[in-house]
C-alpha cells in the first residue's frame, strides 16, 4: 500500500461520483424525502418518530453505500479496469481503502444533510449529540462499502449485484430492532439478530437517543461494527485476484 496511490485512487473514485450528478442528487434528496414522509406518518406520535427516524439515519447510508459500492466494483471487474490496475503498482488495499474512504466521505455529507434536516426542521430529539449520530452513520456507510465489495465478487452482472441488496440488507433491517425490539424476539431470532452487524449500529444509535453522554455500550457496539468492517475488507481482499482464469 502507498499513501500516494491511495490518495489518487480515492480522488479518482470521488471524481467519478462527481460526474454523476443524478446519483449525487438522489443520495442527498432520497433520505430527506423519506424522513419527511416518516414525519407526517407519525405526526401524532413524537416518540415514535424520534425512535424510527434515528434508526433510519443509520440505515440509509448502509443500504446506499452497499448498492453503490457493489455496482462500482462490479464495473471495475467487467470493464477490464481492474485487470489493468493489477498490472500497475496499485495494491489491493489501495483499492479497498480507496473505496472505503471515498464513499465514507460521501456518506458523511449525506448523513450530515439528512441529520441536519431531521434535527432542525423535523424536530428530531436525541439525548446525545448530533456528532455521534453522524459518526455512527458513517460507520454504517463504511460497513455497507465493505459488504458491498465482498458481495460484488459473487455477482457476474449488475442485475445480480442488485439482488444481493435484499439478501444482505433486508434481513438485517427486519431484525435490527426497528420493527420488534430485540429483547422481545424469540430466542433463535435474537441469536440471528446478534450475528448481524446492523443490530449493533442500531443499538449504538439508540444509546445516543437515550443518554446525553456516550455510553460504554455504544462504544462497544461501534467497535463491533468496526471489527466486522475489517473482517469484510479482509475477505474482500481475498476475492480480488490478480490472476484470473
Amino acid at each position: 500500500m502507498s499513501t500516494r496511490i491511495l490518495a489518487s485512487t480515492t480522488r479518482r473514485i470521488l471524481r467519478q461520483l462527481r460526474h454523476d450528478r443524478r446519483t449525487i442528487a438522489l443520495m442527498l434528496v432520497v433520505p430527506i424525502v423519506l424522513l419527511t414522509l416518516l414525519f407526517f406518518m407519525f405526526e401524532e406520535q413524537d416518540r415514535t418518530f424520534d425512535r424510527v427516524a434515528l434508526i433510519m439515519l443509520g440505515i440509509f447510508p448502509f443500504i446506499l453505500m452497499f448498492l453503490i459500492t457493489s455496482i462500482a466494483m462490479l464495473r471495475e471487474r467487467t470493464t477490464g479496469t481492474l485487470e489493468r490496475l493489477f498490472t500497475t503498482p496499485v495494491g489491493k488495499l489501495d483499492l479497498l481503502f480507496g473505496y472505503g474512504i471515498a464513499f465514507g466521505l460521501a456518506a458523511a455529507v449525506q448523513a450530515t444533510v439528512a441529520a441536519a434536516l431531521a434535527y432542525w426542521l423535523l424536530g428530531l430529539d436525541t439525548a446525545g449529540s448530533l456528532g455521534l449520530v453522524i459518526l455512527i452513520a458513517v460507520a454504517n456507510a463504511v460497513l455497507g462499502v465493505a459488504l458491498g465489495l465482498l458481495c460484488s465478487a459473487f455477482a457476474r452482472t449488475e442485475f445480480q449485484a442488485v439482488q444481493f441488496m435484499p439478501v444482505v440488507a433486508i434481513p438485517q433491517i427486519l431484525l435490527c430492532g426497528l420493527f420488534v425490539p430485540r429483547g422481545e424476539m424469540a430466542g433463535w431470532l435474537a441469536g440471528v439478530s446478534n450475528a448481524m452487524p446492523l443490530s449493533y449500529s442500531v443499538e449504538a444509535l439508540q444509546e445516543v437517543g437515550v443518554s446525553a453522554e456516550p455510553t460504554g455500550l455504544m462504544w462497544r457496539d461501534l467497535a463491533i461494527v468496526a471489527g466486522v468492517v475489517v473482517v469484510a475488507l479482509a475477505l474482500g481482499a481475498t476475492t480480488l485476484r490478480r490472476r484470473t482464469p
Binding site: 479518482r12 460526474h19 479496469t81 493489477f86 498490472t87 496499485v90 490472476r243 482464469p245
Partner: protein, 240 residues
C-alpha cells in the same frame, strides 16, 4: 541477443479447455514483435500471461529477468487490453492523469501523452462520449503514460484510420528506438510488415517465430497476407 520475455512450455486452460499447448518463445529487447494469429488462437491469453494476470497451468514466463507478475515488474510494464479499459465516467485527462499518478508521473507528462495519441481536443470530454477509435486511443494513452520498458499492446490500432495508424506506428517505432520492448498483436498484415519480429500463433501453438522477411521466404511468397494463409493452411493439412 538480449531477451526481454521468455516463455517456456506454457500451458493454459480457460473455461475447461486447453488454450495454449505448451508454447515456447523469446521476445527480444528493444524491438517490436508482432503477435499474429487467427481469432481465438490465444494471442490475448499469451499477453495476459506475460503481464501476469492469467492463471497458468504449467510452464514458465520470465519478464525482464523476473517471473511474470512479480511486484517489481508492475512499474516497468504497460498493458493495453483488447477492449478499452478506461473509466467511462471520467474525462480523458482525468483517466490518463490517474494512471500517471500511480507511477508518480506529473500531470504535464500525462497531458503530453494525450497529445501524442491525438486526443488534445477531447482531453476534457468524458470517455463515455468518445467515438470508438478515440475510446481506444484514450485507453492506449493510459498504457503509454508510464513510459514502460515493456509494452504489451493488444490490437492497439483497431478502429483507427490509416493516417492515425501510421502515426501510432511511428510512435511505437520511436519507443523501440529509445530502448523499449514492444509486443503488439494485430490482424492487419500491413502492420506486421512494420514489426522487427513476428510470432505466428495458431490454435495455441507457435507456427513461426522469425523476421517478416524470413516468414515470407519460408512461405515462398512476397505477400505477408499470402504467407500467413500458407503457413496456417500447411499446418492444418499436416494436422489432418
Amino acid at each position: 541477443m538480449d531477451t526481454a520475455v521468455e516463455v517456456r512450455e506454457l500451458v493454459i486452460r480457460r473455461g475447461g479447455r486447453e488454450v495454449l499447448h505448451g508454447i515456447s518463445a523469446q521476445i527480444q529487447r528493444g524491438v517490436i514483435t508482432g503477435l499474429l494469429g487467427p481469432s481465438g488462437s490465444g494471442k490475448t491469453t499469451m499477453m495476459r500471461a506475460i503481464v501476469g494476470v492469467q492463471v497458468v497451468r504449467s510452464g514458465r514466463v520470465t519478464v525482464l529477468g523476473r517471473p511474470a507478475g512479480s511486484p517489481a515488474l508492475r512499474r516497468t510494464i504497460g498493458y493495453l487490453t483488447q477492449s478499452p479499459s478506461v473509466y467511462a465516467d471520467l474525462t480523458v485527462r482525468e483517466n490518463v492523469r490517474y494512471f500517471a499518478s500511480l507511477y508518480g508521473i506529473a500531470s504535464d507528462d500525462a497531458d503530453q501523452t494525450i497529445r501524442d495519441v491525438g486526443l488534445a481536443d477531447q482531453a476534457r470530454q468524458l470517455v463515455g462520449t468518445l467515438s470508438g477509435g478515440q475510446h481506444s486511443r484514450a485507453s492506449l494513452a493510459c498504457a503509454l503514460v508510464s513510459r514502460p520498458e515493456l509494452l504489451v499492446l493488444d490490437e492497439p490500432t483497431v478502429g483507427q484510420d490509416p493516417v492515425l495508424r501510421d502515426e501510432l506506428w511511428k510512435r511505437f517505432r520511436q519507443l523501440a528506438d529509445d530502448g523499449a520492448t514492444l509486443l503488439v498483436s494485430s490482424h492487419v498484415m500491413d502492420e506486421a510488415n512494420r514489426c522487427d519480429r513476428l510470432l505466428l500463433i495458431r490454435e495455441g501453438e507457435i507456427i513461426a517465430d522469425d523476421t517478416p522477411a524470413a516468414v515470407k521466404a519460408a512461405a515462398g511468397t512476397d505477400d505477408l497476407d499470402q504467407a500467413f494463409l500458407t503457413l496456417v493452411r500447411n499446418r492444418t493439412e499436416e494436422g489432418s
